[in-house]
Amino acid sequence: MYKDFKLGKEDINILKGINLDIEQGEMVALLGPSGSGKSTFLNVLGGLVPPTSGDIMIRDYRISEMTENELCLFRREHLGFIFQSYNLISTMTAMENVALALTFAGVKKEIRRERAIEALEVVGLVDRMGHKPSELSGGQQQRVSIARALVNHPEIILADEPTGNLDSKTSADIMEMIYRLNREENQTFVIVTHDPDTTKYCTKVIHMRDGLIESEVNQ
C-alpha cells in the first residue's frame, strides 16, 4: 500500500509500499522515528484518508474502495479510535462523550446511557461521568476516550500514541488496561507508540522507517 501527499505541485511519497497482515485479536505495536509515517498508516487503515494506491481489506470489507459515507458507517460498527490528544468534545460530559458514538448508531437514549456507563465502568471512571473534559486529568480524559472507542464493541481499535501525553505511571496504567481489554474481549489493537516499554504487551512489533516496514517481530 502506498500513500502520497501533494505538497504544492510535488507528490511526496510518505508510505512507500506497506505490506502487512494482522489477525483477529492481535495486539500490534507500531514503532519508528517521528515522521516515518506511523500516523499516516494508521489513518489510512481506519479510512480517515484514502491510500494513493494499494488495498486495505478488513475482513471482507475493501476499505480502499469505500465512499466517504460507507466509511462513516463502517467506522461506526467496526472501528474505535484513540488519539494522543484525546479528542473529546469539550462542551459535553464524560458520559455524553462516550454516549455520542451510540447516538449516530441510532441507539435509544436510555440504552445509550446504560452502555456509556458500562464502558466508563470498564475504564474505571463511573464516578466522573458528569465531569467535562476540562475537569479531568490527562489520564482520565484518555480513559474517557478509550471508553468511547469501546462503547460500540468494535472488533478493531486503532490508537495513535495513546500515552504520548501522559506520565510514565499513568501510561503504564492505560497500557495495562488496553492489554486487559485485548485479552478479555479479543479485540484487535493497533497501537502507535514511541515507548519501547509498551511493546511487552504486544503480539506483534513493527518498526517503521521512512515509509517502509523495517522489521516485523511476532512475540
Binding site: 481506519g46 480517515l48 459515507n69 458507517l73 467506522r75 461506526r76 455520542l100 458514538a101 449516530f104
Partner: protein, 415 residues
C-alpha cells in the same frame, strides 16, 4: 446558548413580527371596511341607473336601441326576467319634506318604492313591520332619518336626535312640502304618514330616508313640480334590483350592463377594495420580507461561524461514526430551530403589538367597541411559523452541507 445565536434569533423575530404586523394591518383595514360594508346586507341589492352617456346619444341620434336604454316599465319587466333576480322596483325620490317630532323640525326625503315587491326586497325592519302592498300612506323610517347633518364651516357634524325613530312606530307623522306657484307665491301641502317600522341599517340612502309607497311619492312629486312624470319616454332615474344571493351579483350585473344601464353594487366596491388591500398587503408584507431576508443572512452567517468554531467537533463525530447526513441534519436542525424559535417569539410579540396598535388607534380615532387596525388571523400565525422555520432550514442547508463534507482528519486536527 451563544450570544451570537440569540442575536440571530432576534433578527428572525424582527423579520417575522414585521411581516405579521404589516400583513395584519392590511388585514385589519380590510376587515373593518368589509365588515362595515357587508354587514349591512345590501350586497344583494343592485342600483340600476339610466346610462347617462348613452342617453345623450339617443336624444341626438335616435337609433334602434332607443327604448332599450330608457329605464321604464318595460325595462323593469326585462330586469325582472334575468336569472337570479328576485325583485325589481323603480325608485322615485322626493326632497325638501319637513316633519315635526316633539316640536323639533326635521328635513326629510322620501324614497318611493313599489310596495308590491317590498316583501321580496331584503329590507329588514329592526322593529315594527313592513307596510302591505296597498298601504298607500304607510312608511318605514330609515334608522338615521332623525339624525341631522349640520355643516359648520369646514367640518360636518352628525347630531343624533333625542327621539328614537322606533318610538314613532304606530304613530302618524305629518310631513309638509312646499312649492312656488306660477305667481311666485309659496304654497304648502301636508301629508299624513303612518309609521309601521324602522329599517335596519343598509349603508345606502335608505338610512337617511323615509321609505314610502311609490304611488304616494309620485303624486307628491307631481304636486311639487306641477307636471306629470312621463315614465314611458324619460324613464325612472333609478331602480333597485334585489338578487337571490351574493354569488349571482356579478352575473346579474353583467346582464344589466348588457342592457346598457349603469349598475352600482356593494359587491363592486368590495371587489375593487379587495384588490387594493391585496396590493397593500403585498407591499407591507414585502417590507417585512426584506427584514426576514436580512435575518436569513444572519442565520447563514451564524451557522457558518458555528461550523468554523466546531470544526474539530465535527471531525470527532465523523471519526466516531457520524455519517454525512447525520452531520448535515444536525446543522439543518439547528438552523431550523433558530428560525422556529425566532418565529414563535415573533408571533408572540406581534400579538402583543397588534393589541397595542389597536388600543392606541382606538385612543386616537375613538369609537365604541374598539378599533381594528391590526387583525391577526390564525392562517397568518401558521404561515409565519412555517415560513420562519423554512427560512431557518433553507439558510442552514449550505453551511450544513459544507460541514458534512469536511475531511474528518483535517477537521480533527484543527484547533
Amino acid at each position: 446558548m451563544k450570544f451570537r445565536t440569540i442575536l440571530t434569533i432576534i433578527g428572525v423575530v424582527i423579520g417575522t413580527s414585521s411581516i405579521i404586523v404589516m400583513v395584519s394591518i392590511g388585514n385589519g383595514a380590510q376587515k373593518s371596511i368589509t365588515d362595515e360594508l357587508s354587514g349591512i346586507g345590501s350586497v344583494t341589492t343592485l342600483q340600476v341607473y339610466q346610462d347617462l352617456s348613452s342617453m345623450g346619444m339617443t336624444s341626438m341620434g335616435g337609433g334602434k336601441t332607443d327604448d332599450k336604454t330608457i329605464l321604464n316599465d318595460d325595462a323593469i319587466k326585462d330586469l325582472k326576467k334575468i336569472d337570479g333576480v328576485v325583485a325589481v322596483t323603480p325608485v322615485v325620490n322626493l326632497n325638501g319634506g319637513e316633519i315635526e317630532v316633539d316640536r323639533e323640525q326635521y328635513g326629510v326625503s322620501l324614497m318611493g318604492v313599489d310596495y308590491a315587491v317590498l316583501e321580496d326586497m331584503r329590507y329588514v325592519t329592526t322593529s315594527g313591520k313592513k307596510p302591505g302592498a296597498n298601504d298607500e300612506n304607510s312608511v318605514i323610517l330609515g334608522k338615521d332619518v332623525l339624525t341631522s347633518i349640520t355643516y359648520t364651516g369646514a367640518s360636518t357634524q352628525l347630531t343624533e336626535s333625542e327621539v328614537n325613530p322606533e318610538d314613532l312606530i304606530g304613530q302618524n307623522i305629518t310631513m309638509t312640502i312646499k312649492r312656488t306657484n306660477a305667481n311666485g307665491e309659496e304654497e304648502m301641502k301636508t301629508q299624513k304618514l303612518k309609521v309601521t317600522g324602522v329599517l335596519e341599517a343598509t349603508g345606502g340612502n335608505e338610512d337617511y330616508s323615509i321609505i314610502a309607497n311609490y304611488n304616494l311619492v309620485t303624486e307628491l312629486n307631481e304636486w311639487q313640480t306641477g307636471r306629470k312624470a312621463n315614465v314611458k319616454k324619460q324613464g325612472y332615474t333609478q331602480a333597485l334590483v334585489t338578487v337571490e344571493d351574493s354569488s349571482v351579483v356579478n352575473a346579474v350585473t353583467t346582464e344589466v350592463e348588457a342592457m346598457q344601464f349603469t349598475v352600482f353594487s356593494m359587491q363592486q366596491i368590495l371587489d375593487s377594495m379587495g384588490s387594493v388591500f391585496q396590493m397593500l398587503q403585498i407591499l407591507l408584507g414585502g417590507i417585512g420580507g426584506v427584514a426576514l431576508l436580512v435575518a436569513c443572512i444572519g442565520i447563514v452567517n451564524t451557522m457558518t461561524m458555528s461550523i468554523y468554531e466546531r470544526t474539530k467537533e465535527i471531525g470527532i463525530m465523523k471519526v466516531i461514526g457520524a455519517s454525512i447526513s447525520d452531520i448535515r441534519n444536525m446543522f439543518i436542525a439547528e438552523s431550523t430551530m433558530i428560525g422556529l424559535i425566532g418565529g414563535l417569539v415573533g408571533i408572540v410579540i406581534s400579538l402583543v403589538l397588534s393589541v397595542l396598535i389597536n388600543l392606541i388607534a382606538g385612543f386616537f380615532i375613538g369609537g365604541e367597541g374598539g378599533v381594528t387596525i391590526s387583525f391577526i388571523t390564525p392562517g397568518l400565525v401558521i404561515f409565519a411559523l412555517v415560513f420562519s422555520a423554512l427560512v431557518g432550514l433553507l439558510s442552514g442547508v449550505r453551511p450544513a452541507i459544507k460541514a458534512a463534507n469536511l475531511s474528518s482528519l483535517d477537521a480533527i486536527r484543527s484547533e
